[in-house]
């Protein structure tokens, strides 16, 4: 089927009162961003509470794939459109019938289906009203394709015919990702590791319209360039949805070694994570972020028990820590990881700072007062090491 346009459906934006235009404009910007990467020429317009994309010379799958990365889109309806003639007339009922029959034939080679025709007449100057048109088109479809049956309650094909500036015919709604358009919320700092969870956490918060900045803790020379490249690639997965991710790479080796030297080994992971949160908090403050994002989930590993979460979250005092996966099972997280094409990258087996130099039996029920007491062993050098680590900040901008 040769489509000429896409009608974009969105849900929550429609109810945002006076701010609605801000959300709609952001959505149009995001749609234009992804279409600029597709072959073809496109014109995006906001007409009467909907977004309408006229398209020419495009690849259908490419366009649908790209629109599927725009948060705020709940549905993509590929449509056939018919323009007015030279005297500014839309086709009469015979012309509409022909277009509708061609549409059905093109989209549904197998006609053994139930259908309903839904007409919407916005141009009230059109000679037939919507009820009349619906009844007439239904009858003509039954005449042309006797295998088809009407079902007004639960049709397999809901055939939409719209009489507007143009005549639009569409039936399918391809689900979009939902959420809110990027650029309508603010920015947050994602603690990105090479694992499965953190890219998913970043994706989920981004889906609420949040711009993402990320921080990765590197442990050279014990981790490889490939491990770092892997994290750059994972940031790229999120950038497909947000357009851009700024990734901060922090050299964490000296801090990690120092903690190892001075603190009990079974508390290493907790103390290490506290310092990661501290550093992320500082960078977030400097870059205008309004929150931290982690991929933590209650009980998944020793450092994510409720006791551990209390200890690691405690260091962040001036902004919220968003943990979108907190109540997710691992399999649910893996499912989303698959869906956003992060999984294959996440499971590449490179050592990172969380897998080297870790205790075999980390403490699962750390007590904050004891952790804090042991952290006092770090007093001599830790401030200096933090300062040096922050100076190593290498910013990599990933744009998609």
């Amino acid at each position: 089927m040769q489509y000429h346009a896409f009608i974009i459906k969105y849900a929550e934006i429609g109810v945002k009162g006076k701010n609605r235009y801000i959300f709609e404009e952001a959505l149009v910007r995001q749609i234009e961003r992804v279409l600029s990467k597709c072959d073809g020429s496109f014109s995006v317009s906001r007409v009467a509470g909907r977004i309408y994309i006229e398209a020419e010379g495009f690849d259908f799958n490419e366009v649908v794939d790209h629109l599927g990365t725009v948060f705020g889109v709940t549905g993509i309806c590929p449509a056939v459109t018919i323009n007015r003639d030279s005297e500014n007339h839309l086709p009469d009922i015979d012309g509409v019938t022909k277009a509708v029959l061609d549409f059905i034939d093109g989209v549904y080679p197998d006609k053994h289906k139930t259908f309903k025709v839904k007409v919407r007449r916005v141009d009230k100057s059109y000679p037939m009203d919507s009820m009349e048109m619906g009844a007439e088109l239904g009858a003509r479809i039954l005449g042309a394709y006797p295998e088809m049956k009407v079902d007004v309650h639960n049709p397999e094909i809901l055939l939409n015919v719209e009489v507007r500036e143009k005549l639009n015919i569409f039936s399918e709604i391809i689900p979009g990702p939902g959420g809110m358009p990027i650029g309508t919320a603010g920015k947050a700092m994602l603690l990105l590791s090479g694992g499965i969870d953190s890219p998913v956490a970043g994706y989920m918060v981004a889906k609420r319209g949040v711009d993402i900045e990320a921080v990765y803790f590197n442990a050279p020379p014990y981790t490889s360039e490939k491990a770092k490249q892997k994290v750059v690639d994972l940031a790229g997965v999120i950038a497909r949805y947000t357009g851009k991710v700024k990734l901060h790479v922090i050299n964490f080796t000296d801090i990690q070694m120092y903690i190892y030297e001075k603190c009990p080994h079974d508390e290493l992971t907790i103390i290490m994570r506290r310092y990661m949160m501290k550093i992320a908090d500082i960078i977030a403050g400097q870059t205008g972020c309004m929150g931290l994002i982690t991929g933590e989930s209650i009980g998944q590993v020793a450092s994510q028990t409720m006791q551990s979460l209390m200890c690691t979250g405690e260091v962040v005092t001036d902004m919220p820590v968003y943990r979108p996966l907190i109540a997710f099972d691992k399999q649910d997280i893996v499912d989303i990881s698959f869906k956003i094409d992060a999984y294959e990258t996440s499971i590449l087996p490179y050592e990172d700072c969380c897998t080297i130099f870790v205790a075999k039996h980390p403490v699962t029920k750390p007590r904050l007062d004891i952790i804090k007491k042991h952290e006092e062993n770090l007093a001599e050098k830790i401030d200096e090491l933090m300062k040096v680590a922050l100076e190593t900040d290498e910013v990599i901008t990933i744009e998609k």
């Binding site: 020379p221 014990y222 981790t223 490889s224 087996p349 050592e351 080297i356 870790v358 205790a359 075999k360």
Partner: protein
């Protein structure tokens, strides 16, 4: 300073080879099948290269078939032999420490109804001939055995195996994967009863993307790719003339002054192993005694450390080694060879491979030793307590 010690993964191309390849690409670039003057020149160069290579094995030039490298040679040897001999039987014997180019190919043939016996190896990585003898059946059509193991440098008893196989049934085809052996070991296919022998160019300071398969005259084998009928139909596709020129020159250079170069390599190997044992604690050198294995490969397990971490640390000092086998180190599954020799489970992921070449210097080995000695104890202090 830099120390490239991953020569079993690939080698630096000899300067003379690179120049010869460049000249062929920019001046003598005719298609060896073309009838005009430039084509004739290329054809003559290929014929000369074939003769040079044949000389290193003391075989007939007509028995050398150029391929894209070790993997293609192995695939052709195994699939081509299986298809040509399946009316006689469908049983193949190989070892449990072969390169994936063999293992994956026999696994593929198993889906087509062939059956494979995988011979075990001892703690030194060497196949027991009694096991081979016991595995041979009336329907055995092919035995494929590597000459030198790529991970621990074990040298298999190829000559004895050849004699044994042919004494049981001369019709069994004997294939030898010599990718790690060629250029480091003297190979005489005729006296060793080898029917097929795989070799790769980039392991001997030649270019990547070129190799050959020695096919003894009269061996029952069929082609597995189809096309323009080059190389008597056994391997269609325009001859990779620059690659062939480079490969033959590299082969010739490797076998020049051979005994002296090999002795120097063994001396370096012994020095490396002795120094490791002397200067580091809790390590294990894998494979056969130093003078029983190949001269260029040393496998060492460093207790308590993950190989990948050691490798990254060395890489930051411009020292390049590999973890297990480079071809599979991107894979989460650990080395089949190390498992087959019964290496302790705790050492499987703690094993690095140091592989040298004729270009390796004593200074490079010293640099590696100094770096390892200064870092290993520091790293152990922090590792998995």
């Amino acid at each position: 300073m830099q120390a490239y010690l991953d020569n079993s993964a690939t080698t630096r191309v000899y300067d003379e080879v690179a120049q010869a390849v460049y000249k062929t690409m920019t001046e003598e670039y005719g298609n060896a099948s073309s009838v005009h003057h430039m084509g004739t020149i290329s054809g003559e160069r290929v014929a000369a290269a074939r003769e040079t290579i044949a000389n290193t094995l003391k075989v007939d030039p007509a028995e050398i078939l150029f391929t894209s490298g070790g993997t293609e040679s192995d695939n052709l040897a195994i699939i081509g032999t299986a298809r040509a001999n399946k009316w006689r039987g469908k049983h193949i014997i190989t070892t449990s420490i072969e390169h994936p180019a063999i293992q994956e190919t026999t696994a593929f043939l198993e889906k087509e109804g062939f059956e494979t016996t995988y011979l075990p190896v001892g703690p030194d990585g060497v196949v027991n001939l009694e096991d081979l003898k016991a595995a041979i059946r009336p329907d055995t059509i092919l035995v494929s055995m590597m000459f030198v193991n790529n991970e621990i440098g074990a040298i298999e008893p190829i000559e004895e195996a050849g004699k044994l196989i042919k004494s049981v049934n001369p019709e069994i085809v004997f294939h030898v994967d010599a990718v790690q052996a060629y250029g480091k070991v003297l190979i005489r296919p005729r006296s060793m009863n080898i029917d097929l022998l795989s070799v790769s160019g980039h392991k001997i300071h030649g270019p990547k993307g070129i190799g050959f398969l020695y096919i003894k005259k009269g061996t029952k084998i069929v082609n597995i790719c189809y096309g323009g009928g080059q190389q008597k139909g056994m391997r269609s596709g325009t001859e990779n003339v620059p690659g062939i020129i480079g490969l033959s020159l590299a082969a010739k250079m490797c076998y020049e002054d051979f005994d002296a170069k090999i002795k120097k390599l063994y001396d370096l190997k012994k020095y490396l192993i002795d120094s490791l044992n002397e200067r580091l604690t809790d390590i294990k050198i894998n494979g056969p005694e130093w003078d029983k294995g190949a001269p260029h490969i040393v496998s060492v397990s460093i207790k308590g450390l993950a190989a990948e971490t050691v490798l990254n640390m060395l890489s930051s000092k411009e020292i390049y080694v590999s973890a297990g086998s480079a071809c599979t180190s991107n894979n989460p599954h650990v080395s089949d060879t190390l498992k087959a020799i019964g290496l302790d489970k705790s050492l499987l992921e703690s094993t690095i491979r140091i592989s040298m070449s004729f270009m390796t210097t004593r200074e490079e080995i010293d640099y590696l030793l100094d770096t390892l000695c200064s870092q290993v104890e520091t790293m152990r202090k922090f590792y998995r307590h």
